[in-house]
């Protein structure tokens, strides 16, 4: 089975992110593989192990620096990694990213399964998986908590607001996965070192025979959220009961119940 895990590089979730001169500034925080996409790589590796003769390709659209995220996927166990990078892709929206990913997947020679994380930490829209499926005309199985491949079909347990739904489709298919797929494996130091030396091919738009998709969704303004004017009031009292009584009175006075 040919499995492609689509990943993105984002600022670390510990980063203090600020809007500065209309741009996003994350200071000196490191760029890392999008944490949700680690689950996509983990799911891809689990499927490789469960289906003999399979291989995992990690695919990323991003700047040259995104090779580091791909190296993380290699260290986790991906067989190969491909970066699509082009200066013309700087203001890509999710539909544009889907077109680029679909073209790259076709250039790879197609896939039986394309796996995404549920969303990215930066934009967080969570649209790219379904849009890639739409461009490829593959079925979309979103928010999978477990995956089972059998006889050319894939069955997932989809985690939705109301519970769990079992959905199946014929391969090839696009999947997005949630955390219950299992914790991403942690690569050993030796493997990380080996992956750090990997030579990762970089494809430009011309390699994909694609013109730069013009973004439809455009940012007009970037805002630092207003700092909440919370002045904390620590409730104290002689006994827990006295504290509880004061606290409950204060909460009821807020008229939020």
């Amino acid at each position: 089975m040919k499995i492609i895990a689509c990943i993105k590089q984002v600022p670390d979730s510990e980063a203090k992110v600020k809007a500065e001169d209309g741009r996003v500034n994350w200071g000196d925080a490191p760029l890392v593989i999008n944490p949700f996409d680690e689950y996509a790589v983990e799911a891809a590796l689990q499927q490789k192990e469960a289906n003999s003769g399979s291989a995992v390709t990690a695919l990323c659209v991003g700047p040259e620096s995104a090779k580091e995220a791909l190296k993380h996927a290699l260290a986790m166990g991906a067989d190969e990694a491909i970066l699509v990078s082009d200066p013309a892709l700087e203001s890509l929206d999710t539909a544009g990213a889907a077109k680029v990913l679909a073209a790259a997947i076709q250039k790879i020679g197609g896939a039986d399964m394309v796996i995404f994380g549920r969303q990215t930490l930066d934009n967080g829209a969570g649209l790219t998986p379904a849009q890639t499926a739409r461009v490829l005309h593959f079925p979309m199985l979103g928010l999978a908590g477990s995956i089972k491949v059998e006889g050319g079909s894939v069955m997932v347990e989809r985690v939705i607001e109301e519970g769990k739904q079992t959905v199946s489709a014929k391969l090839p298919a696009v999947l997005s996965v949630v955390q219950s797929i299992g914790e991403p494996r942690y690569p050993s130091f030796m493997v990380i070192r080996k992956a750090s030396k990997a030579n990762i091919p970089v494809w430009a738009l011309s390699d994909l025979g694609l013109a730069a998709p013009s973004p439809v969704v455009l940012r007009r303004e970037l805002i630092n959220p207003p700092v909440a004017q919370t002045s904390i009031e620590i409730i104290s009292g002689e006994t827990p009961e006295a504290i509880a009584e004061t606290l409950v009175e204060k909460i009821l006075a807020e008229k939020v119940l």
């Binding site: 079925p139 805002i223 904390i232 939020v256």
Partner: protein, 329 residues
């Protein structure tokens, strides 16, 4: 402005933010509701009662279960035939996919998790959180038909006018499906944090009570029982920090924060949660935040309106009792 609002439901149970989307659409001009499924008369009735002027309905066996492809194709064809300026959705697992696909069909884009909307000239400007809520952006969509999913509780809920009705228009169904729904299991603890007006959450601290003499997980279970009792008295939902979920104290569906659910309840009570940034961005839009923690230096106190420095095992039962008394329960 002509707005279509997609009413998202699961087996007839409507995601309440659908009605908030309907009210938002109405505030911008003419509003029609879209209802897909099979046997959806009750949903249509509610759509009129919550303010729809007309309802577009695809009631068909092929749409009995939500599946991305036939729903998206049916929606895209409907939109292309009527050219609304805007299609609004509540943000749910289903609509994220549905809107994403319809946007590809309509050569447009989706503004997701919208928390504010304004119209300036011809342009619809949507405010949405990005970078886990650390930033906000105002975005616009250059497509002829703009698609937007709104975050639950970000816009006012409309009043219900019982008995209201209007025109029901049949929609042509595009039935081609690429997947098959095999089964469904309700979550063991039905939890919808996004719509909850009160959330009581637990963190690592729920397992910290050596005096019980129990194993870590058993202690945590006791802690979450106390949290559940308070949540019940307040008609609220039970939340959790990532630490509590990762430690296996409670299922993922309860997780609040960056990798869980971003919530905005009226009241958020954080118990034994130290307040990692990933958690704080998930709950800081709550109207009133209360923190209960043993550690007076815990960062959670910097976000809270009221704080209690104390042991949750000691405090929660007396707080629950005090609420019961005051609320007459």
């Amino acid at each position: 402005m002509k707005t279509f609002v997609y009413i998202d439901h699961f087996q007839g149970a409507v995601q309440p933010a659908s009605w908030e989307a309907l009210a938002l659409g109405k505030s911008l001009g003419a509003v029609s509701a879209i209802v897909f499924g099979q046997g959806v008369d009750a949903v249509i009735k509610s759509a009129f009662e919550y303010g729809a002027e007309e309802v577009f309905v695809a009631d068909d066996p092929a749409l009995a279960e939500y599946r991305a492809e036939p729903y998206a194709a049916t929606l895209s064809a409907l939109a292309a035939g009527h050219n609304p300026n805007l299609i609004l959705f509540p943000t749910t697992a289903r609509t994220r996919e549905l809107a994403a696909m319809a946007a590809v069909d309509l050569e447009s884009g989706v503004l997701t998790d919208v928390v504010g909307m304004e119209v300036s000239g011809d342009e619809i400007l949507a405010t949405r959180p990005i970078y886990e809520g650390k930033l906000l952006e105002k975005t616009t969509c250059g497509g002829k038909i703009v698609l937007a999913t709104i975050r639950a509780r970000a816009f006012p809920k409309p009043a219900q006018t019982l008995g209201a009705s209007g025109a029901v228009n049949k929609v042509e169904v595009k039935a081609e499906a690429l997947s098959e729904v095999k089964g469904y299991a309700a979550s063991e603890s039905a939890v919808n944090l996004g719509d909850a007006s009160v959330i009581v959450s637990g963190g690592r601290g729920v397992s910290n009570n050596p005096s019980l003499g129990l194993e870590e997980k058993e202690t945590a279970q006791k802690g979450f029982e106390l949290i559940g009792e308070l949540a019940t008295v307040l008609n609220g939902a039970v939340g959790a920090s990532r630490a509590a979920v990762d430690a296996g104290y409670i299922p993922y569906a309860h997780q609040v924060g960056q990798t869980g659910k971003v919530v905005a309840p009226d009241l958020y009570i954080a118990c034994g949660i130290s307040g990692a940034i990933q958690h704080l961005v998930g709950m800081r839009n709550a109207k009133v935040i209360v923190a209960i923690n043993k550690d007076a230096d815990a960062p959670v106190f910097q976000q809270a309106r009221y704080g209690v420095v104390g042991d949750l095992f000691q405090m929660l039962p007396v707080i629950t009792a005090a609420f019961k008394k005051k609320l007459g329960k």
